[in-house]
């Protein structure tokens, strides 16, 4: 299980890469592995606002469908269409080409509620 140390993690298995006031968001290696082959992704549009801990999209595999939960609140400033057109990139490269949205954070202090790589790893291992 790949859990890059430089990222922050939500309890709902999203990762966040912080760049200034912006948060790049995707789902973790553990999430893609447990969902299996992803076949459908629905993401918000640029200009939409997302609320921390509220759903911002949907990801579907042959096994299951899950809501995507926003780790932080803010405005969507970029959307990656690659996983929408070719959902397999999330399985192949969840932290790279599989990124989903970039959010201009309205309350960066919410980052403090997220998990470190070490904490996330511990949470996943406890669940398994």
């Amino acid at each position: 299980m790949n859990v890059p140390v430089e990222l922050k993690y939500s309890r709902e298995h999203e990762w966040v890469r912080v760049e200034g006031n912006r948060a790049i968001i995707g789902i973790t290696d553990f999430a893609q592995e447990s969902m299996g082959d992803i076949v459908f992704v629905e993401l918000p549009s640029v200009g939409d606002t997302v609320e921390a801990e509220e759903p911002f999209g949907v990801v579907e595999s042959v096994k299951t469908a899950s809501d995507l939960y926003a780790p932080v609140s803010g405005e969507v400033v970029e959307v990656n269409n690659e996983p929408v057109d070719a959902p397999e990139v999330i399985n192949q490269d969840p932290y790279g080409k599989g990124w989903m949205i970039v959010v201009e954070m309205s309350d960066p202090s919410q980052l403090e509620n997220l998990l470190s790589a070490e904490q996330y790893k511990a949470m996943v291992e406890e669940q398994a």
Binding site: G36, D37, V39, E60, V62, K63, S66
Partner: protein, 484 residues
């Protein structure tokens, strides 16, 4: 053994039947319809003789798997045997050839049957009134939630916009709530598989319209805090909606109405022995407590003196939800089932459903991981043993291998809260011998998983087609056939 499509059989110009020449004057199509509505080419219809058509469909039917062929422990779906006597009753001339526009005074038998079915379902569930109109379970859910909405609006409670759904719920529950314009709030399950009361208390408030609950839950567990849950929801001003998918586990033992539910839907095909989807159509009757009765879809069958009639004078009704009176033929089958079993028989249905599930769970409990170690109801949820994970064996591989042993696999990957879930529901209609054979087969498959995992990864071997590529089917579905 594969079968070509009917379009690929036959030969151009071949016909199954020859029509006699028409005895009315022919009119050219373009004189009847504007040109833009006429197709330019004939559709590529199959061109086969009668015998080839018959053989094609008979061959396909022999590839089909149903309860009449073998054991079908598909959890949550209740694939039990439907007694053939119900088909006999539904085929009776007076029922099968009854016209929906036939006046009430000439349809007294049919109306009486509907009335008595409403009464029986009300007694079994502890509700006050029923509609038989909805055509399926999910349709019943929608009907029920629209009634809740209408009821709340009639009381001026327009601020109740949220519906609470547990994380183990059927996917149709949040879908229904959303479709009816509510916002869905999920509550987590506790470590015993029930509703987490602390989490429920946190989300209850003046904005909550209802809690949708299945009891027993989709984990096959009885929600023993139900009275407390009902009390909490009612005190917060919300209503309780009962998803009757699992009523087959509690008939004659417990009633949703007594647990505090205000609205229930039933799936006649799960509990009352009518055919499932493919053999449908279905029926999803909805029952309500007296306070919600004015909102039932109209017409409702009522009794006045000795005669039965269709009551349309219901100003607060949410209106019709189905043409005519629902799928009447299905109701005839359920009525037959109710009358053939009677009260004691129905109680035995639930007793055997629960006994069979517990027997199988016990027999398999040293071979599968059982996350909730409690007495189960009519079904149970398990995960494959750890060594499967180590060998890269997924639940899907086990399910596929069971096909080679002649079984329809159990439900897999549901409920979502159990890792690699396998959900087994034997139903009450199976004998101990069948349950033992199935348990032996599943144990053998798990042995194969340890000793020769490749056998499972490439399964099935004996079916008309081998492992299907589900990923390609979802990512690049081919939904039509076109001549080359």
């Amino acid at each position: 053994m594969t079968e070509k499509l009917i379009f690929e059989l036959g030969s151009p110009g071949r016909r199954g039947v020859e029509f006699p020449a028409g005895d009315v004057p022919a009119t050219a199509l373009h004189e009847l319809l504007p040109r833009e509505y006429l197709r330019e080419q004939s559709p590529p219809l199959p061109e086969v003789g009668e015998l080839d058509a018959v053989r094609h469909y008979v061959r396909l039917s022999r590839m089909n798997f149903g309860v009449d062929v073998g054991f079908y422990p598909l959890g949550s779906c209740t694939m039990k045997y439907n007694p053939k006597v119900a088909e006999d009753a539904a085929a009776l001339n007076g029922f099968a050839n009854l016209h929906p526009y036939q006046p009430a005074e000439l349809s007294q038998g049919a109306l009486r049957l509907m009335y008595e079915t409403q009464q029986d379902l009300a007694e079994i569930t502890g509700m006050d009134a029923f509609t038989l109109q909805p055509a399926a379970g999910a349709h019943g859910e929608m009907t029920g939630m629209l009634m809740i909405k209408a009821y709340l609006e009639s009381k001026g409670e327009t601020g109740r916009t949220k519906v609470i759904v547990p994380d183990s719920a059927h996917g149709t529950n949040p879908a229904t709530a959303t479709l009816c314009g509510f916002q869905v709030v999920e509550v987590k399950s506790d470590e015993r598989g029930g509703v987490d009361l602390a989490a429920l208390k946190q989300v209850l408030g003046p904005d909550v319209a209802a809690l949708m609950l299945t009891n027993p839950s989709t984990l096959g567990l009885f929600e023993d805090h139900i009275i407390e849950i009902a009390d909490l929801v009612h005190r917060a001003g919300g209503l309780l909606y009962y998803d009757g998918a699992n009523l087959n586990a509690i008939m004659g033992y417990a009633r949703p109405g007594d647990m505090g539910f205000d609205v229930v839907h039933l799936n006649l095909h799960k509990t009352f022995g009518t055919p499932h989807g493919g053999g449908g159509p279905g029926a999803g009757p909805v029952g309500v407590k007296a306070e919600l009765e004015p909102f039932l879809p109209k017409p409702v069958v009522i009794k006045q003196g000795d005669s039965y009639l269709l009551d349309y004078k219901r100003p607060q009704s949410i209106g019709r939800v189905k043409a005519f009176y629902g799928n009447f033929g299905v109701v005839v089958k359920a009525y037959t089932y109710l009358r053939a079993l009677g009260g004691r028989g129905l109680k035995q249905v639930s007793e055997f459903a629960v006994l069979n599930a517990n027997y199988l769970m016990k027999r398999l409990s040293n071979h599968l991981r059982i996350p909730y170690r409690r007495v189960c109801m009519h079904e149970f949820v398990a995960s494959p043993p750890r060594e499967c994970k180590e060998r890269g064996i997924k639940t899907l591989d086990i399910a596929k291998r069971l096909l080679d042993y002649g079984y329809h696999p159990p439900t897999v990957y549901f409920p979502l809260i159990v890792e690699e879930a396998i959900m087994i529901e034997p139903t009450e209609t199976e004998s101990k011998e069948t349950l033992d054979r199935f348990a032996d087969s599943l144990i053998k498959v798990l042995e194969e998983a340890r000793e020769n995992p490749e056998t499972l990864k490439n399964a099935p071997y004996t079916t008309p087609v081998r492992r299907l590529d589900e990923v390609a089917a979802a990512r690049k579905p081919v939904l039509g056939w076109f001549p080359e």
